[in-house]
C-alpha cells in the first residue's frame, strides 16, 4: 500500500452548460454580460465558467487552503479534485486514497437506524466485510448515541444527527483529505471532542485541501493558500502573503 500521495492539476477548466433552464432568455443575458462568467461554448450553449485554467501541484505534506468570495469556485475545485466533475479541458492526476467531506449528509438515510447508516457508509466506501464491525464500533463510540443507535435517524434530535453525520464523515482516514467549509461552520457548537477528532484526521492526512471563509482556520491549519476569484487563481503562496492580500490588510502575526 502507501503510494506517495500526489495531486497534479494541469490547465483544468470546468464549465457548466445550463441544460434545463430556458436558454433563450439566458442567451440575452450572455450578450449583455459579455465579460462575466456566463459564456458560450463551441456549440453555442450557455455555460457558467466555474473554473478556468487552474494549475496546481500538491505533494505529500502540503496543506492547501482555498479562499475566495461566494461563487469563486472553491467547492467546484474540491469536486474536481475528488474526481466528481471531470475536467472540460486539461488534465487531473491524483494518487493516493481520497476522502472528500463535501456533503454532511452523504448517503445518510433518515428511515434507517443509526447502525444501518454506519453499515451503509461502509458499503459506500467499498470496505471489506471484516472492517465493518470496526467502523461500527468507532462511529458508535464517538457519536455516543447508546440506545438510539438502533432507532431510526428520523426520530433523532438535530444535535444527534449532527453527531452521527460528523462521526461517519470522519471515520475513514484517507491520504488525501478534501474538506468543504460546512464542515467547519459553527465551530462553536462542536464539542471539544469533535475538534480533536478532526485535527487528528487532518494531521493523519498526507495532503489536505480545505475551503473556508474562516481565515483563522486557514491560517492555523494550512501551509499554502490559493485565492480563487471568478474561477481563476488570483494568488497562490504562503498563508501570510496571500491572506493579507485577500483581506486587503496586512495580517497581524498571532
Amino acid at each position: 500500500m502507501a503510494v506517495r500521495a500526489r495531486i497534479e492539476v494541469e490547465n483544468v477548466s470546468v464549465w457548466f452548460p445550463l441544460y434545463h433552464g430556458s436558454s433563450r432568455s439566458l442567451k440575452k443575458m450572455v450578450v449583455a454580460a459579455a465579460s462575466g462568467r456566463l459564456g458560450q461554448d463551441q456549440q453555442q450553449r450557455v455555460v457558467v465558467r466555474a473554473l478556468q485554467d487552474i494549475n496546481l501541484s500538491l505533494e505529500q505534506g502540503d496543506r492547501l487552503g482555498l479562499v475566495g468570495s461566494n461563487g469563486a469556485g472553491k467547492t467546484t475545485l474540491l469536486r474536481v479534485l475528488a474526481g466528481i466533475y471531470e475536467p472540460v479541458t486539461g488534465r487531473l492526476r491524483v494518487q493516493g486514497s481520497l476522502n472528500a467531506l463535501l456533503d454532511p449528509s452523504l448517503g445518510m438515510n433518515m428511515e434507517l437506524t443509526g447502525r444501518e447508516n454506519i453499515l451503509l457508509r461502509g458499503l459506500y466506501n467499498g470496505l471489506p466485510k471484516p472492517m465493518l464491525p470496526r467502523l461500527e464500533e468507532d462511529v458508535a463510540q464517538f457519536a455516543e448515541l447508546s440506545d438510539f443507535l438502533d432507532l431510526p435517524v428520523r426520530i433523532y434530535s438535530a444535535g444527534m444527527v449532527v453527531r452521527l453525520g460528523f462521526a461517519l464523515a470522519t471515520a475513514i482516514k484517507p491520504q488525501i483529505l478534501l474538506m468543504d467549509e460546512w464542515f467547519l461552520a459553527g465551530d462553536a457548537v462542536f464539542l471539544e471532542k469533535a475538534k480533536h477528532r478532526l485535527e487528528e484526521m487532518v494531521r493523519g492526512a498526507d495532503i489536505l485541501v480545505l475551503s473556508s471563509h474562516q481565515v483563522e482556520i486557514i491560517r492555523d491549519w494550512c501551509t499554502r493558500v490559493l485565492w480563487l476569484d471568478q474561477g481563476k487563481i488570483r494568488a497562490d503562496g504562503a498563508p501570510q502573503a496571500v491572506l493579507s492580500q485577500y483581506l486587503g490588510t496586512p495580517l497581524e502575526i498571532a
Binding site: M1, A2, V3, V12, F16, P17, Y19, H20, R79, A82, G83, I84, Y85, E86, P87, V88, T89, G90, R91, L92, R93, V94, Q95, G96, S97, L98, N99, A100, L102, D103, L106, G107, N109, E111, L112, L119, L120, L123, Y124, N125, G126, L127, K129, M131, R134, L135, E137, D138, Q141, F142, A171, I172, K173, P174, Q175, K193, H196, R197, E200, G204
Partner: protein, 290 residues
C-alpha cells in the same frame, strides 16, 4: 481522556486509488474509463444489493405486508383479467390463466425496468455529486430493485401453475439462459436510458408512452397463436423475443421459441453496442447533466 487512543485502535483506512482524467480523451482512454467503471461497480456489488433492498424497504415502509401488496394486486389483476379475457377470447381458462399470470408478471418486470431505468442516475443525484462512484452501481441497483419485485410476484405464477397443475418440467430450465440474457440487457438498458434521460428530460414520458403501446402490440394478454398468419412477424418485436425466450420454456413449448432466440440475441447485441457507445461518451458528463 481515554478517547484518542481508542480512535487510533479502530482507525479505518480508506482504500488506495489513483485517478487520471483528461479532457479530449482518445477513444481508447474513454473505453478504459468505462471498463474501469464496470469493474469498480462489480466490486461494489454489496452496495448495489443494499441499495436495491433499501429502495424496496422504503417504498413499503410501515406497511404490514410490504412488497407482498404487489403480489396481491398482481394476483387480483391476473384473476380478473383471466376470467374476463378467457370469456372474451373464448379460451379454456385452465390454459389461459397460467399463460396470463406468467406473461403479466414478466411484462411487469420489463416495463418497470425500462421506466425506472430512466431515473437511474437522476434519483441518485446527491450521491453522484458528493463522491466519485461508478455509475454501474446505480444501474445494478435499478436491476436488483426490480428483481426483488419480480421475486415477490413469482408467487402469483407459482400459485396459478399449482391450481391448474401446469408444471413446466425439466424443459422449464431452458428459461435460465433467457433470464441471464435479461440481466445483460437490463444493465445495458439502464446505463443507456439513465444517461440519456439525465441529459434529455423529455425522454422519460416518451419512453412510458412507448411501453404502453408495446404492451398492446406484444402478446402479453393475448396469445401469439391468435394472430394467425401474422404470427411470423412477431419476432420483429424485440419485446416479444425477450418475453418468449423465458416464457416459452416455462409454458412447455412455444412454437416460436427458436426464432425468438435469434431475434433476442440480435436485438441484445444491438442494444449493448448502442449502450456502450453512448455510455463511453457520456460517462464523464453525467454529473453535469443531473
Amino acid at each position: 481522556m481515554r478517547y484518542p487512543r481508542r480512535v487510533m485502535s479502530t482507525t479505518t483506512i480508506a482504500a488506495t486509488a489513483s485517478l487520471d482524467l483528461k479532457a479530449d480523451m482518445s477513444a481508447s482512454s474513454r473505453h478504459r474509463l468505462a471498463i474501469d467503471d464496470l469493474v469498480r461497480g462489480a466490486r461494489l456489488w454489496r452496495l448495489a444489493f443494499a441499495l436495491g433492498w433499501l429502495d424496496i424497504r422504503l417504498r413499503y415502509r410501515g406497511s404490514m405486508l410490504g412488497p407482498f401488496w404487489l403480489t396481491i394486486s398482481t394476483g387480483v389483476m391476473v384473476a380478473a383479467l383471466g376470467v374476463l379475457y378467457s370469456t372474451l377470447f373464448k379460451m379454456d381458462i385452465s390454459d389461459y390463466l397460467p399463460f396470463l399470470a406468467l406473461s403479466q408478471v414478466l411484462w411487469g418486470f420489463l416495463s418497470a425496468l425500462v421506466s425506472e431505468g430512466c431515473t437511474t442516475f437522476t434519483e441518485a443525484e446527491s450521491v453522484i455529486r458528493s463522491v466519485r462512484m461508478p455509475f454501474s452501481v446505480f444501474a445494478a441497483r435499478t436491476l436488483i430493485r426490480n428483481t426483488i419485485v419480480l421475486g415477490h410476484n413469482i408467487l402469483v405464477i407459482v400459485v396459478t401453475f399449482a391450481i391448474f397443475s401446469r408444471w413446466p418440467g425439466w424443459e422449464g430450465l431452458m428459461a435460465i439462459p433467457g433470464l441471464l440474457l435479461w440481466i445483460v440487457d437490463a444493465l445495458a438498458l439502464t446505463l443507456l436510458l439513465g444517461a440519456f434521460c439525465a441529459r434529455f428530460r423529455d425522454i422519460q414520458p416518451i419512453v412510458n408512452s412507448v411501453m404502453q403501446i408495446m404492451f398492446f402490440v406484444t402478446p402479453v394478454i393475448w396469445k401469439p397463436e391468435q394472430l394467425g398468419t401474422g404470427m411470423a412477424k412477431l419476432p420483429l418485436n424485440p419485446f416479444f423475443d425477450l418475453l418468449e425466450i423465458v416464457r416459452g420454456p416455462l409454458l412447455g413449448g412455444g412454437a416460436l421459441t427458436t426464432t425468438a432466440w435469434l431475434g433476442a440475441i440480435g436485438f441484445s447485441l444491438m442494444l449493448c453496442v448502442v449502450s456502450w457507445a453512448f455510455f463511453t461518451r457520456a460517462r464523464g458528463r453525467i454529473t453535469f447533466w443531473i
